[in-house]
């Protein structure tokens, strides 16, 4: 992993890494340090001075019913987004892999939602499900089902899951399709000659061979659901009704900027830092393994 031939220069390498290090220190390590520092203090009601409380903010946080519920909400939300985005994408990728004519046209039509911002995805789905004028809300009303995600927590969750999963399908589709196309056709043909049906071939040969891609996407989708869906939640539900869609990332924002509870928000940032750390390590260990396949 080392270059045999390197340049000798006393100051040039430092000059080259300086811009990135500077940005990293000012906008990453300083704020992260601040978060850890602030998480050990509470400001007095007038904001004049702060009082050291050690792990008090964390004790308060995990003693708080709403925070524990937010963990559960995040878990439910992430699992639903990951499963729906991945299964729909896998189904489409399997179909696209079978197509001989026109497959590039299908691919083009399926990948562009990747470029839509989560916040815009939120606006589009909010418009379709608007309880008073939305086209799907109207259809549901005619089918005898009352839709109002402003009142019904379950419906609100379904809506933010649908909007978040919709945006992620293209990413999963691309990776699943690449994974499918990398499977040697001779293996599948051999099974077909032995008389295995399409579904039997899929579950006994294709799906196991696809597992590196599936695990990789699992981690990526969970990270997406945890952190990148802020725009969807903020445009559609603002965490409501009654906190039913308040995922952890939304709560850091709501407590810090709307509630002005800086100690708690900082403690939440630290908890999230730990979570991202774990997920990143899982992702990297996995990618390392995949490279050595």
């Amino acid at each position: 992993m080392e270059k045999r031939v390197v340049f000798d220069n006393r100051w040039l390498p430092y000059l080259l890494v300086a811009p990135q290090l500077l940005v990293t220190f000012v906008f990453f390590f300083w704020p992260a340090g601040q978060a850890i520092y602030q998480s050990a203090f509470i400001p007095d009601p007038f904001g004049l001075k702060t009082q050291f409380v050690g792990f008090g903010n964390f004790e308060y946080l995990f003693g708080n019913r709403y925070y524990r519920e937010s963990f559960l909400t995040t878990a439910v939300f992430s699992v639903l987004v990951t499963i729906s985005a991945m299964s729909f994408a896998l189904w489409l990728a399997v179909l696209a892999d079978r197509v001989i004519k026109g497959s590039s046209a299908y691919r083009t039509l399926l990948i562009w939602p990747y470029a839509v911002a989560p916040a815009i995805a939120g606006v589009l789905w909010l418009f379709m499900f608007n309880p008073f004028t939305g086209v799907i809300a109207w259809m549901l009303a005619h089918a005898g089902y009352v839709w109002n995600h402003n009142l019904d927590g379950g419906q609100a969750m379904a809506l933010v899951v649908a909007a978040s999963a919709w945006k992620q399908i293209s990413y999963n589709f691309l990776f699943f399709l690449a994974g499918l196309q990398a499977i040697p056709k001779s293996v599948i043909e051999a099974a077909a000659i032995d008389g295995a049906s399409f579904w039997r071939r899929f579950w006994t040969i294709v799906f196991p061979l696809l597992s590196p891609t599936t695990f990789f996407l699992l981690v990526v989708n969970i990270i997406y659901a945890f952190f990148d869906t802020f725009g969807v939640i903020h445009t559609i539900t603002q965490g409501g009704p009654q906190q039913s869609t308040t995922i952890l990332v939304y709560k850091v924002f709501a407590d810090g900027f709307v509630g002005q509870d800086l100690g708690s928000s900082a403690a939440q940032s630290v908890v999230l830092l730990a979570l991202v750390g774990i997920l990143t390590v899982v992702q990297f260990r996995f990618i390392e393994r995949r490279v050595h396949y």
Partner: protein
């Protein structure tokens, strides 16, 4: 390519039917948004809304572009463009330089620097949101392009990618350049940069989309309407409570907001797929 497996008539038809159904599901939200951006408010507030485009395309898009919400959409699009390009170009430049230093030089603290950069992978803006805001506010960077761009510019992913790429470039090339009397700067400009061209282009596509689609950060630090970006500006147009809003104008804004990144993905599909697979997030 797919050989002899499954080419019978019915199977093929079912495959195409399934794909078309999938595309219909995925495209439906955009179609609805497009239709809504071509009709009048009256058409929309008395459901069911029409499912085919109306004649008010120009009215709605002109109103969005010239009047918009708290700021005209042309201005928000311009801000988005400056932010997206700033993030993209900034990230590429600082990552190229630091990856070059880490691969082609031996110096003290090299590995320490590498790990410091690597650790930023673990700190997305959403996580350290309040303290980053405070840092940027204390530097007096609220409502400025610098404040919009700089905090999002450090990227371990891009540094990694260039490091991997540089590792694959044969040492013979460097030796030959040195024999010819080329110093580190010459080598970087004349050999390394041209060899990294496609990778830079692929990364450009991915980073442009990333930069354009930023939401939370501009939402926090641009309190002045004239600095709003289009992705966050559209939130300000949405209804709060029971008030009625001009849905056709909002939907025209949504269409305008997603047009640049979608065009980039469709127009540069090969580079986009390459960038996506290489950066793996």
């Amino acid at each position: 390519m797919s050989g002899m497996v499954e080419k019978r008539g019915l199977g093929t038809w079912l495959t195409h039917a399934g794909l078309i159904f999938g595309i219909a599901v995925i495209c439906f939200p955009i179609w609805i948004a497009f239709v809504a951006s071509t009709v009048t408010q009256d058409d929309l507030i008395r459901p069911p809304m029409p499912l085919l485009p109306g004649p008010h395309f120009l009215d709605n898009y002109l109103e969005a572009l010239l009047t918009g919400g708290v700021a005209p959409v042309w201005q928000m699009l311009l801000n988005s463009l400056v932010m997206a390009l700033g993030i993209t170009i900034g990230k590429i430049i600082i990552s190229l330089l630091s990856a070059y230093a880490i691969v082609y030089f031996k110096f003290r603290f090299r590995m320490l620097f590498f790990w410091l950069i690597f650790m930023t992978l673990m700190l997305p803006v959403e996580v350290r949101i309040v303290p980053t805001y405070e840092v940027v506010a204390s530097l007096g960077l609220l409502n400025s392009y610098t404040g919009l761009i700089l905090p999002l510019i450090a990227s371990a992913t891009a540094t990694f990618l260039f490091r991997q790429l540089f590792m694959t470039i044969p040492d013979e090339l460097t030796e030959a350049a040195r024999v010819d009397g080329a110093g580190p700067v010459r080598f970087f400009i004349d050999i390394l940069l041209p060899m990294s061209r496609t990778n830079i282009a692929a990364l450009f596509v991915i980073l442009f989309i990333y930069g354009w689609n930023q939401y939370l950060w501009p939402l926090l630090i641009t309190t002045e309407p004239s600095m709003n970006t289009v992705i966050m500006g559209i939130k300000q147009m949405l209804p709060t409570g029971d008030q009625t809003v001009e849905w056709p104008v909002i939907m025209a804004t949504a269409m305008l907001a997603m047009l640049p990144p979608v065009l980039v993905v469709i127009g540069m599909q090969k580079l986009f797929v390459k960038g996506l697979v290489e950066s793996e997030k």
